[in-house]
């Protein structure tokens, strides 16, 4: 007899828990009447971490599929637009050293690789500005859309900055009221397992025994199920990514009319980097650094230098970071999503997008019965391991392409012994051919597509030797794309409102659903 998978039990009420609950419940809404259930068990005593304030554009479709109103989301979660990241002082460390990793693909990306043409053109403008209008838009502090643009649609591609604590509460309300997710406030005191190792039930202090067919571990760093119960080990990657501590602080705006940046600003420091994220109500800042390369006092001083005189009265929260991930993510009938699966420094805002992709994969591939669950689990583990590996490589690339030699942190980051083999090979390859299609990043849901590598590589001054004939066949097309991009950029700069102005209007009037 087959054992159907009907009762999904999620442990943990942070961003990971509620997003996973929402994605699964929305996808299986039709089955809810016939026994399918999603239960989220949240500890009344454990605080959520709430680190992720930056997201990827994927969150737009994730929220839309959950039936969320984008207007409500903006109003309730201190949400602002994010159109990419600006990396300052990562290459040379000089005052004017900065490049963008925007969210829009290079002009004509599907038709041709613009990199050789840009390299050949003498590079008078940055790669990003030559092929994409978004750097200009961000420099001008503009929003990616108009008040008349429908919810979840953009004129320029966009993601969000948000208050993670408010986001969890917002999702909680939506999931329980609209999607039929059952919310249980209780501490898990014990976990019941069958002889096979499968989890059969949670024992809770407040709500007794909670049975389930599939258990999702969203308990954050505690990793209650995947770590403690299932005994899955943790693969540390601090040998590649050195940062292990964050000092986080919230900085109020000087006046209510201060511009809100529509990109994440990431500024390299002596032993790490500072994130600077503009929400409508405040800026969220943090220094992510390597404690092997800087003491806490020195890091604190660097953070205060960045903030300026207003920083001295602000309370700074210290957050330890353990870079790495589980050896596997789905074992028996237990799958880890969020910090319980792993954590990496928020350099490319990969935390929430990984939650979305994992939740989507679970929801779409939801095993019909226990008999086929291991097949799904194997595939989940394969693709998730691949994703963590690619993110680690991509983050490391930001460091190891630096020309900075001014501190041990940067010198150590360029030590080949710290650079994953796969990344080393890619960088060797890209000396002679720039990444594009048919490169290895061709999975259906690649977190960082070849375009992202292009922006970072050539933003950081990477050199690719192109042959004299590499551009011959597509020169005319490339010329057209370059002038097309210049015209799109002019048009958007004339048309788009200031970021703060549009956020104010969304609060006042709302966006239309169509």
């Amino acid at each position: 007899m087959t054992q159907p998978i009907q009762r999904i039990v999620i442990v943990g009420g942070g961003t990971a828990g509620w997003l996973t609950a929402g994605v699964i419940a929305a996808r299986h809404q039709a089955r809810m009447k016939s026994g399918f259930s999603v239960t989220l068990v949240e500890s009344p005593t454990v605080n959520i971490i709430g680190v992720g304030e930056g997201t990827w554009p994927t969150l737009r479709s994730t929220l839309q599929k959950m039936g969320v109103s984008e207007t409500d989301f903006f109003r309730r979660c201190d949400t602002a637009f994010k159109q990419g990241a600006k990396f300052a002082r990562w290459s040379t460390g000089a005052e004017n050293d900065a490049y963008y990793h925007p969210l829009m693909l290079p002009q004509g990306f599907a038709q041709l690789n613009m990199v050789p043409h840009w390299l050949e053109s003498g590079q008078n403008r940055s790669f990003c500005d030559s092929v994409c209008p978004q750097g200009d838009i961000c420099d001008d502090g503009l929003a990616p859309k108009l008040i008349t643009t429908p919810e979840f649609q953009g004129i320029a591609n966009y993601a969000y900055h948000l208050d993670a604590g408010k986001f969890s509460l917002f999702l909680n309300e939506h999931c329980t009221r609209k999607l039929g997710v059952r919310h249980v406030s209780a501490d898990v005191t014990d976990v019941e397992q069958a002889e096979t190792g499968d989890i059969t039930a949670l024992i809770t202090r407040e709500a007794g025994r909670i049975e389930g067919d599939l258990f999702v571990d969203c308990t954050g760093f505690h990793a209650v199920l995947i770590g403690k119960t299932m005994g899955v080990g943790f693969k540390d990657c601090s040998d590649v990514l050195f940062c292990d501590t964050a000092l986080a602080v919230q900085v109020p705006y000087e006046t209510p009319e201060d511009p809100i940046a529509s990109h994440t600003l990431s500024t390299a420091q002596s032993a790490g980097w500072i994130w600077d994220i503009g929400l409508p109500t405040r800026r969220g800042l943090g220094y992510v650094y390597s404690s092997r390369h800087s003491g806490e006092d020195a890091a604190h001083d660097e953070l205060m230098r960045y903030i300026g005189p207003r920083g001295k009265d602000l309370s700074v929260r210290k957050i330890p970071i353990r870079s790495g991930h589980r050896h596997i993510f789905w074992k028996n009938n237990c799958v880890a999503v969020g910090l319980s699966a792993g954590f990496l420094e928020p350099l490319e805002a990969s935390a929430i997008v990984l939650i979305e992709l994992s939740a989507k994969l679970i929801a779409e591939q939801m095993p019909a019965c226990r008999e086929v669950m291991d097949i799904v689990a194997d595939r989940f583990n394969e693709v998730t391991t691949y994703r963590w590996g690619r993110i680690i490589d991509f983050l490391k690339m930001h460091y190891c392409l630096t020309q900075r030699k001014d501190s041990a942190f940067w010198r150590d980051n360029c030590d080949p012994a710290t650079i994953p083999e796969r990344l080393q090979k890619l960088l060797r390859l890209w000396k002679y051919q720039p990444p594009w299609f048919l490169d290895e990043f061709d999975r259906l849901e690649e977190i960082f597509p070849a375009a992202s590598y292009q922006y970072v590589l050539y933003g950081m001054g990477f050199r690719t030797e192109i042959g004299p004939h590499d551009t011959a066949g597509t020169a005319q097309l490339a010329g057209r794309m370059l002038s097309e991009n210049a015209s799109v950029s002019r048009q958007l700069r004339a048309q788009l409102p200031k970021n703060r102005e549009l956020l104010r209007k969304i609060h006042e009037y709302g966006l239309q659903p169509i």
Partner: protein, 232 residues
């Protein structure tokens, strides 16, 4: 651009306004906001579509009179009073200001060869009285347009419509940012929603909006006739 002041029978004793319908007087509008009470009069001549206010994103209903900016293909008939002329054209250059009137002194209608707004005793002229009545209708109508369009959005009854037209001058026109009634969604409405719309008088408005779509090809023919007469 505009210089809007509250109308005063002393300060504006000598101000004159030309109420004639003409391009020179600013009647060349291709899309004019309208209120629900006007729909039966409009639907027999004009396509009535929805669009979004560029400042607030809010939907409003409008009568379409042309395809290009500043093109009103009904200008002659509106001047001859052989077709219905929307309240918002009749209102100009006046606005409501509380219970009184305001006037845009920079509007092209404000001209020395126009008519005066007050008689010798300082009483408003018959023209001004008409405008007051027009503005009263518009004010009452604005609230119901807001409610109506919000119901249409909430019931998911709107769909975007893109007018992609080729005219006899060989230049294609694409008119974007317009919305109309989604007939399939309308047909699928649950009974209680239909009843609610009917009781509020919205169902008739919905049918008028839908029926007026048939005016789009007629408006296009009108455009071609204008192009032809301009060419010969």
């Amino acid at each position: 651009m505009s210089n809007i002041v509250v109308l005063d029978n002393q300060a504006h004793r000598s101000v004159r306004v030309d109420s004639a319908v003409s391009a020179r007087n600013g009647d060349n509008e291709r899309f004019v906001p309208v209120v629900l009470a006007e729909l039966p009069f409009l639907a027999v001549h004009y396509p009535i579509l929805l669009s979004k206010d560029s400042e607030t994103g809010a939907f409003f209903c409008g009568a379409m009179m042309g395809f290009d900016a500043g093109e009103n293909l009904f200008l002659a008939e509106q001047a001859a009073q052989s077709v219905y002329r929307p309240l918002n054209l009749r209102r100009a250059p006046f606005f409501a200001a509380g219970n009184g009137l305001a006037l845009d002194l920079d509007h092209p209608r404000v001209r020395p060869d126009g008519q005066s707004l007050f008689n010798e005793a300082g009483k408003p002229s018959a023209y001004v009285e008409t405008v007051v009545a027009v503005l009263r209708e518009l004010k009452a109508g604005a609230e119901s347009v807001k409610e109506f369009t919000e119901r249409l959005v909430a019931l998911k009854l709107l769909e975007q419509i893109e007018l992609d037209l080729a005219f006899d001058d060989g230049r294609p026109r694409k008119v974007i940012g317009l919305y109309t009634i989604d007939q399939q969604a309308l047909a699928a409405l649950p009974d209680e929603a239909v009843l609610e719309l009917f009781r509020k008088g919205y169902l008739q408005a919905i049918h008028l909006l839908a029926a007026s779509l048939k005016q789009v090809p007629l408006l296009a023919q009108r455009k071609n006739r204008h192009l032809l007469s301009a060419a010969v």
